[in-house]
Amino acid sequence: MNVLNFIHAFFSDSSHWHGYDGIPARVWEHIQYSLEALGYAALIGLPVGLVTGHYGRGGNTLALIATAGRALPSFGLLVLMFIWLGFGLLPVMIPLVILAVPPILVTTYEALRSVDPSPVDAARGMGMTESRILFQVELPVALPLILSGLRSAAIQIVSTATIAAYVSLGGLGRYIIDGLYQKNYEKVVGGATLVAAMALVTLGIFWAVARLTVSPGVRRS
């Protein structure tokens, strides 16, 4: 297998393991970009999704925003922001956040809407305030779905953060883009493998978080 040979060659070359272009440095940069983008996206998507989902209003508006967000091409937006704003992290963060907000927003809204209304009514009958209903009844029940929205957002961010290298930033995309220009195929495949591995690790982390935070009563078979 050709690709496997390239992967082996890339990872066994000791010069790939240290320095500013070494694997640990690039992985760390990639993690930083991804976490920052996911943080901003969650900061926007979660509160809006929770509030609109709780009151059940604005679903159509949210669907519209989500469609618009999905329709904007991340890569094109990155290049455009780079041309307009110049070098920096901001041109990378804007497309990544726009990419990640729709899945978080829509899934959170849908998750709260799909909560069985009878426990919510029971909680209201017991005299719980709206915010306690939201955080102590609806949120725990909706958590698996909310996490799945965050998960798909996180995976899309991790995969898409590779394009940051196109505008001269770091991250794992550096190997892919540099490798393509240098016709160094081993580097390209190595970079691609690292990104895919990171996406899989992200999947694993979300699986573990869901395992730890979702109440056993809610967990489906």
């Binding site: 999905r70 329709a71 091409p73 890569f75 094109g76 455009l80 394009i163 393509l180 970079g191 895919a196």
Partner: protein, 216 residues
């Protein structure tokens, strides 16, 4: 905004030519994904134990970044359109299989029993009862797949200018013409929104029994 539609000659294409190319590179994979995912989904509905592993495999496939996917395929299919279309077809598949399975499964048991009682065989029951009732779920999946496919084609620019409208982004940098990048982003977004609206229309035509206001 002068030269907004003035496409540099190195792309050897007109503005509308690029749009056509973009739509072809984006939509053929979605169609291929739909054709493959229908039988897979049917198998998953038929044999319940098959669904969790299939779901696992598709989730992992979805985790492979598009750029990485393109790059690995270069070795087999070269820097061509095919290299862009194969990953897009796989992503469509990943979105569509769960959508179709959930849609077909949501058909009430009584409806199926009624169809059987009316003498419908399994094949006719599938095409005349299960599939039509699953249409809203399938279209919902198709909308996500189509929009993301249209958006992802642009990344093909990085592997030897195979990105259709995305190629304008490279030219915007090369020739210092930012309006080309604006053109690329706006046109791609408009194409995606139009395709999305078209699918909503298709769903309305195919499911006349659904209430009109549920636009999602």
């Amino acid at each position: 905004m002068s030269g907004f539609f003035d496409i540099p000659s190195d792309l050897q294409n007109t503005y509308f030519g690029l749009i056509g190319l973009h739509l072809r590179e984006a939509l053929i994979p979605v169609l291929a994904g739909l054709l493959v995912s229908l039988p897979i989904a049917q198998l998953c509905v038929r044999f319940r134990w098959l669904y969790p592993p299939v779901l696992g495999v598709t989730t992992i496939l979805y985790a492979i970044p598009s750029l990485a996917f393109f790059v690995v395929l270069i070795d087999y299919t070269g820097q061509t359109e095919t290299t862009v279309m194969i990953p897009l077809a796989v992503y469509s598949l990943v979105v569509l299989v769960p959508a179709i399975v959930d849609g077909v499964r949501s058909v009430p048991a009584e409806t199926l029993a009624a169809a059987t009682a009316m003498g419908l065989g399994p094949v006719r029951r599938y095409f005349q009862v299960q599939l039509p009732i699953a249409v809203p779920a399938i279209i919902a999946g198709l909308r996500v797949a189509t929009v993301s496919s249209i958006s992802l084609v642009s990344v093909g620019m990085l592997i030897g200018n195979q990105g259709a409208l995305g190629n304008l982004l490279n030219d915007a940098n090369l020739y210092h013409r930012p309006e080309l990048a604006v053109n690329s982003v706006v046109t791609t977004a408009v194409l995606a929104i139009l395709a999305d609206a078209f699918l909503v229309l298709v769903r309305r035509v195919l499911t006349p029994w659904m209430p009109k206001e549920s636009t999602r």
